[in-house]
């Protein structure tokens, strides 16, 4: 394999990694504050991408052509809308089941995801067909010895890193973050300290879902295509990444995301007919890692959360 091809694989792997990490961070946040697995997460991501696409179509109809303005509005609308959807799911689907067995939450969020998915398929115009996601980023590229580094990949990767770093700052250096960490540790004590448990849960779900929306839009911008089923595989991968990294730890989620992307890339490069079996290979390795380290690579230390 020549260097150009290898470079392409690495760039692609990094992009996948950052998107998986963003999804996994969401799973880890939800699990941290409420001990729940929210399986509608991937479909919220998909809905975020479709919201972005719809906003783009709307802006086109209004005659707004400047691509930086389109990009900004697409991202802002999609993130805010999904933050709202996440909070609504928390308020009306997840919180009412608090106290019920965890299986019920898992099942009902799985169903919620299916409802979101089918709604897009049925009610978005020609929703069952893949949609061409617009190229809103500059298409500059630098050539190195046959390998072309695209500016949009660099920008998307930077945006993903910035988003995760932002969440990390928020969690570790603000009053809201302190409240989230306190709820994650011991919600009863947090309430006695005057922290509004429900509002913190809603804000956390909004935060995770907004992050998923950004990941969805980034995914669309990178592949220039979105479809109603895109959230399904991303949810399974993001969830596996969070588990393999250690559910409850943000660093674990990031590590898990990049690890999964690295395994997929490795599978594609090293195996014969690799790209057909890269997911099989990556999931097989993940199963192996979980069998060896059931608590994930970065285990929660003495009930450490988020």
């Amino acid at each position: 394999m020549d260097i150009a091809q290898l470079g392409q694989y690495v760039v692609n792997g990094m992009m996948l990694g950052i998107i998986y990490a963003m999804v996994a961070v969401g799973f880890t946040l939800f699990f941290g504050v409420l001990d729940v697995i929210k399986f509608s997460h991937g479909d919220v991501l998909m809905l975020g991408a479709f919201t972005g696409y719809a906003v783009y179509l709307g802006l086109g109809a209004l005659g707004i052509e400047a691509s930086w303005l389109q990009l900004a509005l697409v991202v802002i609308a999609s993130v805010l809308a999904m933050a709202g959807v996440g909070a609504l799911i928390a308020r009306f689907v997840v919180l009412p089941l608090r106290g019920a067995p965890a299986f019920n939450t898992l099942l009902i969020t799985l169903m919620t995801g299916m409802v979101l998915r089918e709604c897009v398929r049925l009610f978005f115009p020609a929703g069952s067909n893949p949609k061409p996601f617009p190229r809103l980023l500059p298409d500059t590229q630098w050539a190195f010895d046959g390998f072309a580094l695209r500016l949009d990949s660099v920008l998307l990767f930077a945006a993903g890193c910035a988003a995760i770093a932002g969440v990390h700052l928020l969690i570790n250096h603000t009053r809201l973050g302190l409240a989230i960490r306190a709820v994650a540790q011991d919600s009863e004590t947090a309430r006695v300290m005057g922290i509004g448990f429900e509002s913190i849960v809603l804000l956390t779900f909004a935060l995770g879902s907004g992050l998923a929306a950004l990941a969805g839009v980034m995914n669309g911008l990178y592949y220039n295509e979105i479809n109603f089923g895109m959230g399904l595989l991303l949810a399974v991968i993001g969830f596996s990444a969070a588990i393999v990294g250690g559910l409850g730890s943000i660093y674990g989620a990031i590590l898990g995301g990049f690890l999964f992307a690295a395994l997929q890339t490795l599978g594609a490069v090293a195996l014969p007919f690799g790209s057909a079996y890269k997911d099989v290979f990556a999931f097989a390795v993940v199963i192996l890692i979980i069998a060896i380290k059931p608590t994930g690579l970065i285990a929660e230390r003495s009930s450490e959360r988020v």
Binding site: T174, A179, Q185, M193, I195
Partner: protein
């Protein structure tokens, strides 16, 4: 006892868990600035009383008034804002967080800044941070000077005795008007418990009119620090008065003083 001096007034307070009556039409007053001892065997409803007052349990019936606020079935947030702080029987600190972060949780309701404030108003943020750090250090130093130097260590690395001190500091840093201490001496030696309570009283002297309700089994401690005592059994108040009054009660003598 006249109304103006009463800080917390509970009337007919009842808490049922299914068929179990944990608090049974309890009448209890806490006066401004007093130290009230709460005694009773395990399961007599002392901690349930704290949980009801702080809003963790919604009482089945009764009235609760704190100063001028109705706190019957109030949320923990409302109770906290009204000025009631508590500690737990088993240490409930956030172990991975630093001592400072845990204390900041205590005065969470008094902090008022988000990410934008932190990033954009650097000077005010730093002034605020310095003020809080000094306050946290002062408060810790009252209990243990060595502890004040470990402000940024995770609580998980700190001994159980010091964790109790931190928990009391976390309750005090919000400047409450009523402090509920749930067996602060559990797991401590007599001397350590004495010292802890003496420190609490010392901080209280600087705070003005702080009232304290203290759940405690150690009679010596009760005698030394409380102004008044209430004895619970099966969720009812069976005896009330100064230490000498309750110590003269036959039931208390049998249960606590090994006499009778």
């Amino acid at each position: 006892m006249n109304d103006a001096t009463i800080l917390l007034r509970a009337r007919g307070l009842t808490m049922r868990f299914g068929g179990v009556v944990a608090l049974n039409e309890l009448d209890l007053d806490v006066q401004r600035g007093e130290v009230l001892g709460l005694l009773g065997p395990n399961g007599s409803g002392k901690t349930t009383f704290f949980n009801v007052i702080t809003g963790l349990y919604a009482p089945s019936a009764g009235q609760v008034r704190f100063a001028d606020t109705d706190l019957f079935r109030a949320s923990p947030q409302q109770v906290c804002r009204a000025g009631i702080a508590r500690t737990f029987q088993r240490s409930r600190l956030c172990l991975p967080l630093s001592v400072f972060d845990n204390l900041m949780l205590g005065c969470h309701i008094h902090l008022d800044h988000g990410l934008l404030f932190n990033l954009l108003r650097r000077r005010r943020f730093e002034a605020e941070l310095t003020r809080l750090q000094r306050r946290a250090r002062e408060l810790l130093a009252t209990f243990s000077p060595a502890l004040a130097d470990r402000l940024y260590q995770p609580v998980g690395a700190i001994s159980m005795i010091d964790r109790r001190r931190i928990e009391v500091c976390r309750a005090l840093i919000s400047d409450p008007r009523l402090l509920l201490l749930d067996e602060p001496s559990a797991g401590m030696t007599h001397d350590e418990a004495d010292e802890l309570l003496a420190d609490v009283l010392r901080v209280r002297a600087g705070l003005g009119e702080l009232a304290i309700v203290l759940i405690e089994h150690e009679m010596g401690l009760i005698e030394r620090v409380t102004d008044r005592c209430v004895v619970f059994n099966y969720g009812r108040k069976i005896c009330e008065g100064s230490y000498r009054t309750i110590a003269a009660d036959p039931w208390v003598q049998e249960a606590y003083l090994g006499q009778g």
